[in-house]
Assembly symmetry: C2
Homo-oligomer: 348 residues x 2
């Protein structure tokens, strides 16, 4: 049997990238909601906001003045969680208290000078410019010999802790591997050792055949709701070629990445006719740490919304203490996203 068929039965699915499972309760999607409803922050922003620290020519927290940039703009985070001058120290008392210092560089990337836009509302060529900048930043940070991992991500929407609506993302790089990356290293290595192919190459090949969870596809990328998605509308963009990191993409692939990013984020906005909040980010091979043929570039999207622009999924009690849990199935979510228009609901 080539398709999962447990009917409406509660079941768990394994996330092959982490080795961890998620609990799916399909029968439960009709549960009424009487709990917290989110505020929708007003969506009428000016193209330029004199008080925004990301708009061109404005002053930032550290006193610097932003240039009058025309595409995208990158700078070191004024409130970096990691610092580049931290000296290496370790602490281990009886295997009970284990700690070590962590060194890093945190950057902010404004995606466009336009305060009022978001990724899906930007021209594809402007998104391509962001992809170019991600690649350039990745290449430069990889030259810092003590950096082992570079996390490129975006928090979109106030509900995702984003404190400035000006479209922007972040890059945190550091001298050890973060836990989620460690898990994906183990799982991808295991598979590669056994088959000499990347885990995700085989996975997307199988998904493209099934077509159940695919959202979009172009020459170089596929977007889909992973079989093991935990968030209701979680999605993943995977490159068709087994490329280790963003530095490996050629011009055509960067064009195609911009195109599929625009498509996925447009579908998201159209789903509930709202600027769809999410945290998204790329997972890629460690740097300055040998060759990683087992690593396959991909990008995760973790959106919190469940059934409307104001009702989100709460990953709380059972989820925090025991196991991530979802109600609607990944297959239903993928179908809903596929049915969304690819023209943004706000565009004329």
């Amino acid at each position: 049997q080539s398709t999962l068929n447990f009917g409406d039965s509660p079941h768990t699915r394994v996330n092959i990238l982490t080795g961890e499972k998620v609990l799916v309760s399909p029968h439960r999607s009709k549960r009424p909601w009487q709990g917290q409803v989110e505020d929708l922050p007003g969506d009428d922003r000016p193209a330029y906001d004199p008080k925004c620290y990301l708009c061109p020519t404005n002053k930032r927290a550290d006193g610097d003045i932003n240039p009058d940039y025309k595409e995208s703009f990158v700078f070191v985070n004024d409130f970096s969680a990691l610092l580049k001058d931290t000296s290496q120290q370790e602490f281990n008392e009886d295997e009970l208290f284990i700690a070590e210092t962590e060194k890093g560089i945190c950057k902010v990337i404004a995606f466009t000078p336009r305060h009022d836009l978001t990724l899906p509302e930007m021209e594809q060529s402007a998104i391509k410019a962001v992809v170019d900048l991600w690649q350039k930043e990745f290449e430069e940070l990889s030259k810092v010999e003590w950096i082992r991992y570079i996390q490129i991500f975006e928090n979109k929407g106030a509900i995702m802790g984003c404190s400035n609506p000006h479209p922007h993302g972040q890059i945190w790089s550091q001298n050890h591997l973060p836990v989620e990356i460690q898990k994906e290293c183990v799982q991808q290595q295991k598979y590669f050792d056994r088959y000499q192919r990347t885990l995700l190459a085989d996975y997307i090949k199988a998904e493209l055949k099934k077509e159940e969870r695919i959202i979009d596809e172009n020459d170089s990328f596929v977007s889909l709701v992973p079989f093991w998605a935990a968030w209701p509308y979680e999605a993943m963009i995977v490159s068709k070629r087994a490329v280790q990191n963003i530095a490996g993409f050629d011009e055509k692939e960067k064009e195609d990445l911009a195109a599929i990013l625009k498509l996925l984020t447009t579908r998201y906005d159209n789903l509930f006719k709202t600027s769809f909040p999410y945290s998204a980010g790329m997972h890629q091979a460690p740097v300055n740490n040998g060759d990683h043929p087992e690593w396959h570039w991909h990008m995760h999207f973790y959106p919190p919304l469940l059934r409307s622009a104001t009702v989100k999924k709460f990953m709380v009690g059972y989820e925090m203490l025991a196991n991530p849990q979802r109600d609607i199935t990944p297959e239903v979510a993928a179908e809903q996203l596929r049915n969304c228009a690819t023209k943004h609901y706000k565009s004329k």
Copy 2:
């Protein structure tokens, strides 16, 4: 050196219960906040709400009428995520699509007939009655031979996905071990095999000596901010005796558990003069699965608030994709909680 001393340096600490680390950025706690601020739901509730499905004598979703209960009351969740009649099925396609059905029983426990109270506002004797009921329910569910794990927990506050302010908790039991429990099994087993003592017995012994992260202590329990806490005011209650599960507690221990629960939740409420939201729950040994001398009963508290009743910590982009991160140190958090009054701010 018996105390961690990295100054204000960013560092990681290892959670010995899961083997995973957390990133601590102590220098960053002065970061200003311009992002989302939470709504404070009104806190003036009647002692009885005719529309609440948990109040005595009211009708529930399935048509049942609640009894006129006087202490606490338990029933099967009308919207259970797990069902007891699910038949066992497995699915594994090429190690890429792995799933199996999950069977379980989900219950709801109303802590008191009083709609207007919360745990810290209840009499200690009423909290003791809840502890008694937890124990009784645990014992009964353990008699169901296919159940392997019983998760007792509470989501408190709308911000934690709690959809009814009537004080209540939940019990989800199931026929496989959830992921967080699997991690704690591995870590506790490893330690026990090596030392023939439980990991947490040695850990709390060391913490009681250091006194830096302890919040409260009585004859049978200690509450503390763990060395590896990820949430700003995360706390843990640990039994002094290495008891495998709540069934093992005697009368005196149950009294002491009620006492330390009242203390911790009162300090929480007093911290920001608000009904402090959290998800909390017990971790204990698997059931119907042999003896587990390595397991040491404990209870985790994961509260989302960061710096006031309306500003929470967002575990988003970097945290979801890479590694949990915190700003204020566990030591500062413990000190603040120790400095909170033990008399509830609302009591006269």
